[in-house]
Amino acid sequence: MTVDFLFDFLSELFADLVGSGPVLIISMLIPCLMLFGFITIYALIVIYAELKISSFIQDKVGPMGQGVGLHAGKWGLLQPIADALKLLLKEDIIPSRADKPLFILAPFMIFIGAFISFVALPFGESIIIADLNIGLFYILGVGSIAVLSLILAGWSSNNKWSLYGGMRSAAQIVSYEIPAGLSLIVVIMLAGTLNMQDIIRYQAGGIFSWIFFDNPFVPIAFVVYFISAIAETNRTPFDLPESESELVAGFATEYSGMRYAFFFLSEYANMFVVSAVAAACFLGGWHSPISGFMDSPAWGVFWMISKTFFLIFIMIWLRWTLPRLRVDQLMNVCWKVFLPVALINIFGVAIWTVIFNQ
């Protein structure tokens, strides 16, 4: 279900009536609206999951509710909706000394960065909005928009805590993109393509055809990628830009209501993007772990989403288990550990491929 497909389909029906311009716009709007709906529902689910998983880890009950009325529904299922409503209805405060245009721009930019990454994510054999031939490259590229927005937010708030948060996030995200990108190069070398669908097609045929099990260097690349991805999404143990016990709320200190909700939403959206990329590149994407077992296109969506959610679960698990690193330790890990490891990995995979996979 790509934009091209929709365009062809709608052209046949309506092109005679309105011309190709409006049809193009409509065929782009429909997937965007569906995507927006998906991200919203996904965010509600994962916020609930985060609340409940953290509760199990911390030996508390989390959102609960009995009966009707102003409770959080059965098992607290309405809690994320209540949270979202609260954020939407809250007063929107812009500090009088803030740089107003930039302050307003920042939350939209971070959301756009997260949103347009979804366009190239494959959900099934034919379910992808834009089947780009440089899909992986595109996702890595637009993922960097987030850092601009965090710096904007930090600078325009005119608050020292926000500034600290912005500067930290700039250093952190820019640094961690390098090991993440280098780890994905391993995948590109093996699959020989940047197209997300082709990378997944390369992994057809059961769990041992996944790139993860391709050779002994790939699991290392996966770990490096996944840790870098956590750092890029500013999650604990790498949540320095918004470390609540040091910087109050970092770049988001001055944001409230809807604008804060956008930062929040894009954090979760980014989690989905990085996990989906990891699932597609290393864990076989929409392929079933057993060849031929539940391997139809409809099950493909199930496999893709469950692999992604499994990785998101690991992120949540780590967040509620580990303390936070310090800013210089974070940089040390990136430049002195991950970067050399990722480079050696590329070398190792190249040699392995030459020797064993002629």
Binding site: S54, I57, Q58, D59, K60, K160, Y164, T236, P237, D239, L240, S243, E244, S245, E246, V248, W320, T321, L322, P323, R324, L325, R326, V327, D328, Q329
Partner: protein, 373 residues
């Protein structure tokens, strides 16, 4: 490698900030992430308690002591009644002494749990904090069972206690200890041996013994620097000489002696020692004895003054009481251990990164209620 100098920025941490443990303002000079100077400003929680005490009777002072160190009210009570009894030469019976020790040691466990948990929270570890609060809750349940209050007890009175132990107290306490002892190991593993936690605490904020002594730092912070000084052993009061327990000191297991990790570890070990003391005290607890037996009808100490210090969870807690023979104190002064711990912050914290300074502040386990009084 050259040194890059940036512009200095003055930053106010607090008085409303998640890591300042109450209402404390730290004015720091920063150069990027590096903090070159820390000036603590306190007084945001000043409630004139010492002056208040001059206008109330000796019994009415006890609720004020509760509210000073609100995380260790039992030991605050304990210090005051020990001082008063020494001034008035009252000898309380054994049952009272044993109950007081049990309460004080349970309070020490509760206070250390919160101290360590909040320290972890400052470093970003949220889960251990909640686990520790969960177990502190059970201690508060025991206190509630005993005197009805969960935070501000007003339990120890001059010459006795407000209530005798309720039925089922011994079983409840033993149950708690049986449940709690394995949990201490769990806390130690969960937090203390976590690689990131060690990275964030070992060799950081090192307080050499000389610095600690010259600033008058006491309690677990001083012991973390390797000085074996515990008033329960070195200036025994009440019946602490009857118990067998160790005084843990920092040994620099993960880094240098006196770093944040040592201060953390001393508290963990003190929890174990307190469990030991409570067990012994419950074994030896006399079955009979009226807890009101030695209570004077009217508290009117003879003219004179007393300074008595006791070991609170935060250190050397002293009460100076000046009596003019009337039923209100002429002057009452508390020596606050957290105050001296805060004063050393600039000495050990300057030059570290922002995250470290807040970690060091957390490792000192200060309570603003006691500093400002």
């Amino acid at each position: 490698m050259g040194v890059v100098h940036g512009q200095e920025m003055v930053l106010n941490i607090g008085p409303q900030h998640p890591a300042t443990h109450g209402v404390l303002r730290l004015q720091v000079k920063t150069d990027g992430e590096i903090i070159s100077e820390i000036t603590p400003y306190m007084g945001y929680l000043h409630r004139c308690f010492e002056k208040h005490c001059e206008n109330v009777t000796y019994e009415q002072v006890i609720p004020f002591t509760d509210r000073c160190d609100y995380l260790a009210s039992m030991t605050m009570n304990f210090g005051y009644v020990v001082a008063m009894e020494q001034l008035m030469e009252i000898k309380v019976n054994d049952r009272v002494e044993y109950i007081r020790v049990i309460m004080a040691e349970l309070q020490r466990i509760a206070s250390h749990l919160l101290g360590i948990g909040a320290f972890g929270l400052d470093l970003g570890a949220f889960t251990p904090f909640l686990h520790m609060l969960r177990d502190r809750e059970r201690i508060l349940d025991i206190f509630e069972m005993t005197c009805g209050a969960r935070l501000l007890y007003n339990y120890m009175w001059v010459g006795g206690l407000s209530h005798d132990l309720p039925t089922g107290f011994v079983e409840a306490t033993l149950n708690f200890l049986d449940y709690f002892e394995p949990k201490v190991d769990e806390f130690e593993n969960l937090l203390g041996h976590n690689k990131i936690f060690v990275e964030r605490t070992a060799d950081i904020g090192t307080m050499p013994a000389e610095v600690a002594i010259s600033y008058g730092v006491t309690g677990p912070n001083l012991r973390g620097s390797g000085v074996k000084w515990d008033l329960r052993k070195d200036d025994p009061y009440s019946i602490y000489d009857r118990f067998d327990f160790n005084v843990p000191v920092g040994k620099g297991m993960k880094g240098t002696v006196g770093d944040c990790w040592d201060r953390f570890y001393v508290r963990i070990q003190e929890i174990r020692e307190s469990v030991k003391i409570v067990r012994q005290a419950i074994d030896q607890l006399p079955k009979d004895g009226d807890v009101h037996q030695a209570m004077p009808k009217k508290i009117r100490p003879p003219k004179g003054s007393i300074y008595r210090r006791t070991e609170s969870p935060r250190g050397d807690l002293g009460y100076y009481i000046e009596s003019d023979g009337s039923d209100t104190p002429y002057r009452l002064k508390m020596r606050s251990p957290a105050f001296t711990a805060l004063s050393v912050l600039n000495e050990i914290g300057a030059g570290w990164l922002m995250s470290d300074v807040l970690g060091i502040l957390g490792s000192l386990d200060i309570v603003l209620g006691e500093i400002d009084r």
